[in-house]
Symmetry: C2
Subunit: 225 residues, 2 copies
């Protein structure tokens, strides 16, 4: 993937890689062009020369990541992003910066982050549909929403990786951490959490007893936009 050592790469590539690391670790606003230039061993002016502006540099980083995550699908079957991300998680010492940058894209709401999220959601929905079709997965009363929620759940450890590292005590770079997350999630996705369906039944009954898209409470709207 990255074939050339950073010192030998072109200056533009070095700048972009340094930016991915900094943006991913500290966020866009907290990172200065001067910092990135110093990391890449060039002058701040060269950053602007190559990318037009700091925002242009961010766009270039976004596109690098989108390409990296999206075009891997030639290798594998349908779930391109999910598969690539699993590879990344297995080799954090190499791709950790990309993971950080992806999480930053999502929480800072960049346009590339939106594209990746949409793609990830579509892949998830397809996977679920296929699973339901061939009987390996449970059907849902609201498949679209279920796909959204499962996608969100999958991204949560990425977005809250600092909290995860903090309460876990070990760096997320250790494969042990990723591994330990697997079993509880699989338990949840296999047997669920509740021992019986009383709560689900109660909610289902409540939802059927009223207008499907209307709130049950009285409309006491007020306040600003």
């Amino acid at each position: 993937m990255r074939s050339v050592p950073l010192e030998d790469a072109t200056a533009a590539a070095r700048i972009r890689e340094a930016a991915i690391v900094r943006f991913g670790r500290q966020g866009y606003e907290r990172t200065s062009v001067r910092e990135i230039a110093a990391d890449a061993g060039v002058s701040p002016a060269l950053v602007i020369h190559h990318f037009g502006s700091k925002e242009g540099l961010r766009t270039a980083c976004d596109e690098t990541l989108v390409r990296e995550l999206m075009t891997e699908k030639a290798k594998t079957r349908a779930p391109a992003i999910a598969e690539t991300m699993r590879e990344w998680l297995d080799r954090p010492e190499r791709f950790g910066a990309y993971i950080d940058y992806f999480a930053t894209m999502l929480s800072e709401g960049s346009e590339g982050g939106n594209r990746l999220f949409d793609r990830l959601l579509r892949e998830t929905a397809t996977m679920l549909d296929e699973g339901v079709a061939d009987g390996t997965m449970q059907p849902s009363a609201d498949p679209e929403m279920r796909a959204i929620m499962i996608t969100l759940n999958g991204l949560a450890p990425l977005l809250l990786r600092d909290q995860l590292v903090r309460v876990l005590g070990v760096p997320l770079s250790s494969p042990a951490a990723v591994q330990r997350m697997t079993l509880p999630i699989l338990e949840l996705y296999t047997h669920g959490l509740y021992a019986d369906s009383r709560i689900l039944d109660a909610v289902r009954a409540a939802l059927e007893g009223e207008s499907p898209t209307q709130a049950p409470t009285s409309p006491d709207s007020e306040g600003p936009a």
Copy 2:
């Protein structure tokens, strides 16, 4: 909770509320003291006069939120934060700013965000332990990690609420959105996702067949920090 209209509150309170709105909506770095001052109808100097610095203002906002979320527990039983947050979600026109600010705290990694996360995690773990004890919830091979993952899952819609709003088309302020999220999550937490336990069994067998905390792949460590 907020008994006085903002125009009549003291200037310090007005500044703090304006800061919570701005910080929650745009993040700490993207918000200037001048913006907050303008929102509160005061001079930028007064912000510093009351809170010492921009960082001090952030701390004050953090503490306001922590207090608001933590001390509600007198009202209810054990799960204080979770209960309060559900109230907030039910009245977004009033507490939407708090929700946004809480999400910002978590993703920007403030110290108050850590405290709230720890508290939320502890509440979740307790709830799970009690559920397992009285038989309403499934046991887990790794209860601590399961509590973490379930806490992360619960926070995901908060952190990715922009994506959620985007793909859903409706503002998260509508109770319909919160309501529609409930059913798929309850389905998942009741019946799981997989129709049988083949994947779980396979992973369990794989995990038992090796050293419990060691990675299966060959150690090809390299690269920077």
